[in-house]
């Protein structure tokens, strides 16, 4: 059986080490926070916060306290606040150990596309380009194929790039792959998924 959303998030959480400062994207990456266990992880919200807490209880929402997805959140005893220039200074400066984010396409050379589909409504890249260019390690969590069954792990991206050669590791519903010289290397397959099945669902070169 391929992994479901929660299993992918749980697998992504294994990438995080005690003491890391991490930025989680919207969607499945947000679920990663549920699986960090006893590890001491500090979450960054790029609108200006380290130490992001869970959603507030009803009636305790604070309009001055939101995450980068504009959702109401809470603070923790460790929380610090800062301005956007400082926030992206720590991102661009490589202080954030890892970003876990979704993608539309990843190429075998680590190119990432996740912000724009030509001809469709373009909302903007937000902080995605800064994050993938700046953080220590970029981990993509996404389905292996799109709605049409086509591989999202490609020889070359067809969509406009968010970053060039920026992806380190890809976690999909079928398994885990690393970007290495010459292509992608299979790290592991999801329980019950064979290496042949993973290869068959992948357009990118597997080395």
């Amino acid at each position: 059986m391929p992994w479901d959303r929660n299993q992918m998030a749980a697998r992504a959480a294994e990438e995080l080490e005690d003491g890391m400062y991490v930025n989680l994207g919207i969607g499945i990456p947000t679920l990663v926070a549920n699986y960090t266990g006893d590890k001491d992880i500090t979450l960054q919200s790029e609108n200006g916060m380290l130490g992001m807490g869970p959603f507030p209880y009803e009636g305790e929402e604070d309009p001055d306290l939101i995450n980068a997805g504009k959702q109401t959140i809470t603070e923790l005893p460790r929380t610090s606040y800062f301005d956007s220039a400082t926030s992206f200074g720590m991102i661009r400066g490589g202080k954030i150990a890892a970003a876990i984010l979704g993608a539309m396409e990843v190429a075998e050379n680590g190119d990432l596309a996740n912000w724009m589909i030509p001809g469709k409504l373009v909302k903007g890249m937000g902080g995605a380009m800064d994050l993938v260019a700046g953080v220590g390690r970029v981990i993509v969590v996404m389905d292996h194929t799109n709605k049409h069954g086509d591989s999202k792990l490609l020889k070359e991206c067809t969509l406009p790039l968010t970053g060039k050669g920026v992806v380190d590791r890809i976690i999909t519903n079928l398994g885990v792959l690393d970007v290495v010289p010459g292509g992608l290397r299979i790290v592991e397959t999801a329980d019950g998924v064979t290496e042949e099945e993973l290869r068959a669902a992948t357009e990118a070169t597997i080395v």
């Binding site: 916060m49 959603f55 001055d64 939101i66 504009k70 700046g134 406009p160």
Partner: protein, 234 residues
């Protein structure tokens, strides 16, 4: 010198002109200068260019100036929440220059620090790099981005003293300090003006040197995505 004004309208008196570049603080609807935006709408100033991370929603934030066609161009990183914005953009009425969020923040900060340009690896190999100088440092490519020097900065803070020292609250700080820094004139709206000496000098987020005019007012502080969790049964 008196920096305290009685209303947003008075605080903007004499600083608005058609075709000007305004840097605005805020992230989404959090920490936006909502009173000053309303006053700009009432002043009717036209052909405005805004450096602002977002464009508000249809009836709040910069969105209210889109309804009145006062905005010519936006420098933003994300504009997804605004139907009127999209309509004007797709019909060619509104110009849009996407800036990666950190690049936009740093362009403001740099402008405020007298830095006309800086190199960043954000956007290398993407459409953002098109037409920009590329320079190699230590074997890695960087692109040249320009500092923003705005005609006017409008920001929202939590508290100010009468000298313009500002304190922000939680994530409502966001773009407000860099936006404040990059304008020739900065007008700040605050929830409370407190007596000189009552703010801890060690805890000032933005020194009053950057702030020329202050106005106190009541803020709606609208929530864009109200998200909660259930209380576990005791």
């Amino acid at each position: 010198m008196n920096k305290v004004y009685g209303s947003a309208k008075e605080a903007l008196d004499g600083v608005l002109f058609d075709g000007m570049l305004i840097a605005a603080g805020g992230f989404g609807l959090c920490g936006i200068p909502e009173l000053l935006l309303q006053a700009i709408k009432e002043a009717g100033t036209k052909d405005l260019t805004f450096a602002s991370n977002n464009a508000g929603v249809d009836d709040f934030g910069i969105g209210i100036l889109l309804q009145t066609r006062q905005v010519k161009k936006m420098l933003s990183s994300y504009v997804g929440e605004n139907a009127e914005f999209m309509r004007q953009y797709l019909s060619g009425e509104l110009e849009l220059e996407f800036n990666p969020q950190g690049t936009l923040a740093e362009r403001m900060r740099a402008g405020g620090c007298g830095i006309p340009g800086f190199y960043t690896k954000t956007g290398v190999g993407t459409v953002i790099a098109e037409g920009k100088e590329i320079k190699v440092f230590d074997g890695e490519e960087y692109i040249l981005e320009r500092g923003i020097f705005a005609d006017l900065s409008i920001v929202k803070a939590w508290k100010a003293d009468d000298t313009g020292n500002l304190v922000f609250r939680k994530t409502a700080r966001n773009f407000n300090p860099p936006a404040a820094m990059c304008g020739k004139i900065c007008v700040a709206e605050v929830e409370e003006i407190v007596p000189r000496g009552s703010l801890d000098p060690d805890c000032i987020h933005l020194p009053g040197i950057y702030v020329h005019r202050i106005v106190q007012g009541t803020h709606e502080k609208r929530i864009e995505q109200r998200t909660t969790r259930k209380r576990e049964d005791v």
